[in-house]
């Protein structure tokens, strides 16, 4: 008989717990958090841009609301999130295609997962470093006084 109810009993708590699986779990967690953050920004951006259709005054009123230090800080966060999400997403596409996972081997104590090798770990670090660099560049544009 087919079982329809397969509830994940840990729910949100299980999803957010980065403790048990090391770096891969942190990457998993950040990929989803940045994804949700970017989706929220995307919907907000589509709404914000629609003020254009109400003319010059509505557009400028929206700019007064968003082109503030707080608005620029949010944009910086979006730049960091989008860079990490893109770089880590490309790593995940390769990983899901079986690239960079290493060869399967006999499980010997202390049972380090072969799949989480230096390529995967460095991929996560590269994504984090690229996000930091993009945020620094974004800060120079947004707060550079141009």
């Amino acid at each position: 008989m087919e079982v329809y109810d397969r509830n994940n009993r840990e729910g949100l708590k299980g999803w957010l717990n980065p403790g048990r699986y090391g770096w891969e779990r942190v990457s998993y967690w950040l990929q989803r958090l940045t994804g949700v953050g970017l989706l929220v920004y995307f919907v907000g951006h589509v709404y914000e841009t629609s003020s254009l259709t109400q003319g010059f005054d509505a557009w400028n009123a929206m700019l007064e609301l968003t082109q503030t230090p707080l608005g620029h800080m949010i944009l910086l966060l979006v730049i960091g999130m989008s860079t990490f999400h893109s770089a880590n997403g490309i790593r995940l596409i390769f990983t899901h295609g079986g690239k960079g996972l290493g060869k399967p081997g006999r499980p010997d104590y202390p049972y380090d997962p072969v799949s989480l090798n230096y390529r995967q770990k460095s991929g996560i670090w590269v994504a984090l470093i690229l996000a930091a660099v993009a945020m620094l560049y974004g800060a120079s544009v947004l707060f550079g006084g141009e």
């Binding site: 994940n8 729910g11 994804g35 629609s50 254009l52 259709t53 400028n60 596409i93």
Partner: protein, 116 residues
């Protein structure tokens, strides 16, 4: 009905395609000082440029598909049952279509606007 593996291929393809079109969209904000690029006349001129308007529409569609499918995947990871899966799928598809329709309306109206 699409298989989950086919949906994930669409997810990856829309993600990679979005990278390129969003890069062009950001570059358009950097070809002149950032504040100037956001002035009403400059933004309207962007929308009058047909290739750029098509690019904006493609960004809208690609990110809406990628984003709302990503949300669907996250929600399905948290809980699994036939009712929940159907509910999440319907809600994300409706939200995706709503955002695409609303954004498309902006692009079409702004394309026909005169300068301020």
């Amino acid at each position: 009905m699409l298989r989950e593996s086919q949906i994930m291929k669409i997810h990856y393809m829309t993600g990679i395609a979005a990278l390129f079109v969003v890069a062009v969209h950001i570059l358009m904000r950097l070809v002149m000082p950032f504040n100037l690029s956001l002035e009403f006349d400059n933004v309207i001129l962007n929308y009058h440029n047909l290739p750029y308007a098509v690019l904006l529409e493609s960004i809208l569609v690609l990110i809406a598909i990628h984003g709302f499918n990503g949300l669907r995947v996250i929600l399905l990871e948290m809980r699994q049952s036939r009712g929940w899966e159907n509910f999440v799928t319907v809600v994300t598809i409706v939200a995706m279509m709503g955002v695409i329709a609303y954004g498309t309306r902006t692009i079409i109206v702004a394309n026909g606007l005169s300068l301020g």
